[in-house]
């Protein structure tokens, strides 16, 4: 019996380890600070995260801060980057899979007015309502670079 329990425990621990996949963790809005601009993160439509190769999570108040930060660190140290899905607050999208809208009617915390969307349909419906243009992640990084440097 004892053996069973210990095996079960061992399995549980193993599952736990397996379950500890690296990924984004929830942002505590109003408490966490942006790793790039130092501001307290407060707008849940625009939060973003970067997970480093050492599994450290850096949090950002906006997509532009993530993009700016990602250009300042060694690419090898970036494991993954995550942006908040504009339509369903709190859900993260991988930065490379997401679609981005730049619209002056959706004001993001750092003034470049970028928001992240899940797919073509979603972004087009937002675009027809608010206007703006669609960017890919790489275009977005270049845009932030051109604006801030």
């Amino acid at each position: 019996m004892k053996i069973f329990i210990s095996i079960a425990m061992a399995l549980l621990i193993m599952f736990n380890i397996v379950a500890c996949q690296s990924g984004p963790e929830p942002i505590a809005y109003g408490e966490d600070n942006c790793a790039n601009c130092m501001m307290t993160i407060s707008d849940p439509k625009y939060g973003a995260e970067l997970v480093s190769d050492k599994e450290k999570v850096f949090k950002f108040d906006s997509i532009e801060c993530l993009a700016d930060y990602s250009t300042k660190v060694d690419v090898k140290t970036i494991k993954s980057m995550w942006v908040t899905d504009f339509e369903s607050k709190g859900n993260f999208l991988n930065a490379h899979d997401a679609q981005f809208l730049r619209s002056d009617n959706l004001k993001s915390p750092m003034g470049l007015n970028l928001s992240a969307h899940k797919n073509h349909e979603k972004i087009n419906s937002v675009k027809t309502e608010f206007g703006g243009d669609v960017l890919s992640w790489n275009e977005l990084v270049n845009y932030v670079k051109s604006k801030w440097n």
Binding site: Y29, G30, M39, M110
Partner: protein
């Protein structure tokens, strides 16, 4: 009424002209009529709104009004939301009538130049995260005045965008949200020029006063306290001044970021406690002045990151956790004639080099002497202690504060400086404090 009087007066006047025979030629008569008519007939009138008045709703008065009219609103509760003001009118409340957004809507939107709004209580706008619902929103206007209003429990209070030459004066704003995410800013300016924000009291909003892409504006004599995030939040706003303001007990103090030519003088920054709270957080600021401010009991009085050519002159730093945290990427800043009194740390830095100048400050920690009695200490003062250098690299080491071990470390470093920045010294420390 006044309109009719105007016409009467005009006719009388015309008659005088004709009877004296000055005008004999009908062509010039027409010319004169054409010249005088628009100015004379367009007399401003007053429209009265109230339960016992001709107009029962502000909306109806607004649609009947012309440019230059005054709308007087008697006391009472008006459940009128989304009021669109697209004429140059004065809207004046008598005995503070209440306008409510019923926790669902915006209250007033101003889209005309030369509008004045005075004497109302705006309350209960609804939350809307995409449209940023505000009690009063001004969009693309000039020469508007918002004065002596009260605002309670609104998402955003006064929201100005793409506007210029407006004045926001003597208003009181209070919100009761407990979460930053559900709260908007008190006075919010975006893409504005030459605005004056004066004598307002703001409490309980996300940011008390918020400036983004604002130029040449002034923030004067406001009290911004107990806001959830920043008392004043200032981004990309060049050539602005803020002076004689009082910022206290805000969640994270005051933040001034990505800006050139800011003049910050005679403000009080007080009681901003917390891990990420700063009396004044400066990030990427250049060519600016911080003059004659009081920094009292903040976790960190001023934090400098990426700041260049900032002059910090004649300020008082009293009983702060650390008075100045100077990050390595800040250069050519000057700190002079300040009083540093009773701070746990006077200067913290994360670099062994410093390209900033400290000169002629008063340091209460200074233990030197003045043999030639010129009021200036004979040996230089090193404001960066070894221990403050250590905690900059390793925050949890703070637990050793005030221990004997740390005192020994500091003394040793003082005698043989090896780790602390050699250039970060005040070579002319003042013996007595500046008054």
């Amino acid at each position: 009424m006044s309109n009719r009087n105007g016409i009467k007066y005009y006719l009388k006047w015309l008659f005088c002209f004709l009877s004296t025979g000055l005008i004999k030629n009908s062509a010039s008569l027409f010319l004169i009529i054409g010249f005088l008519l628009p100015g004379r007939v367009n007399f401003s009138k007053s429209l009265l709104v109230g339960s016992n008045q001709y107009f029962k709703t502000i909306k109806s008065a607004l649609s009947a009004a012309n440019n230059g009219d005054t709308i007087l609103v008697y006391t009472g509760v008006y459940n009128e939301h989304s009021l669109l003001v697209n004429k140059a009118v004065k809207i004046i409340g008598i005995e503070r009538p209440i306008l409510t957004g019923e926790n669902k809507y915006e209250i007033m939107k101003i889209k005309s130049n030369n509008v004045l709004v005075r004497g109302f209580l705006f309350k209960d706008t609804g939350l809307n995260f995409i449209y940023d619902n505000a009690a009063i929103k001004l969009d693309s206007v000039k020469y508007c005045t918002i004065e002596e209003n009260k605002f309670t429990n609104n998402f955003f209070g006064i929201y100005l965008s793409r506007s210029s030459n407006c004045v926001v004066i003597n208003n009181e704003l209070e919100a009761f949200h407990t979460k930053e995410t559900y709260s908007g800013n008190g006075i919010h300016l975006w893409q504005c020029r030459e605005m004056i924000i004066k004598n307002n009291k703001i409490k309980g909003h996300r940011d008390g006063i918020y400036f983004e892409f604002v130029k040449k504006s002034e923030i004067e004599s406001n009290i911004s306290y107990s806001n959830l995030r920043y008392g004043l939040h200032f981004m990309f706003s060049d050539s602005c001044r803020y002076f004689h303001n009082y910022f206290t007990k805000n969640g994270a103090g005051v933040a001034v970021m990505f800006t050139k030519n800011v003049d910050m003088s005679n403000n009080i920054f007080e009681y901003n406690w917390g891990g990420a709270a700063y009396g004044l957080l400066l990030k990427d600021i250049s060519d600016s002045k911080i003059v004659r401010n009081q920094f009292i009991k903040n976790t960190c009085a001023i934090y400098f990151e990426g700041c260049n050519r900032v002059t910090t002159l004649e300020n008082n730093f009293l009983e702060n956790g650390s008075a100045i945290r100077l990050m390595a990427n800040s250069m050519d800043n000057l700190f002079t004639r300040n009083n540093f009194i009773g701070n746990s740390f006077d200067v913290n830095t994360n670099s062994t080099r410093s390209y900033n100048t400290f000169e002629s400050n008063y340091w209460s920690e200074y233990k030197g002497y003045d043999l030639n009695k010129d009021g200036i200490g004979d040996i230089p003062f090193r404001p960066v202690k070894l221990f403050s250098f250590i905690i900059e690299q390793n925050r949890p080491a703070l637990i050793l504060m005030r221990s004997l071990f740390v005192d020994i470390l500091n003394v040793a470093e003082n005698i043989f400086p090896s780790l602390t920045p050699k250039t970060l010294i005040d070579s002319k420390p003042k013996m007595t404090k500046y008054l």
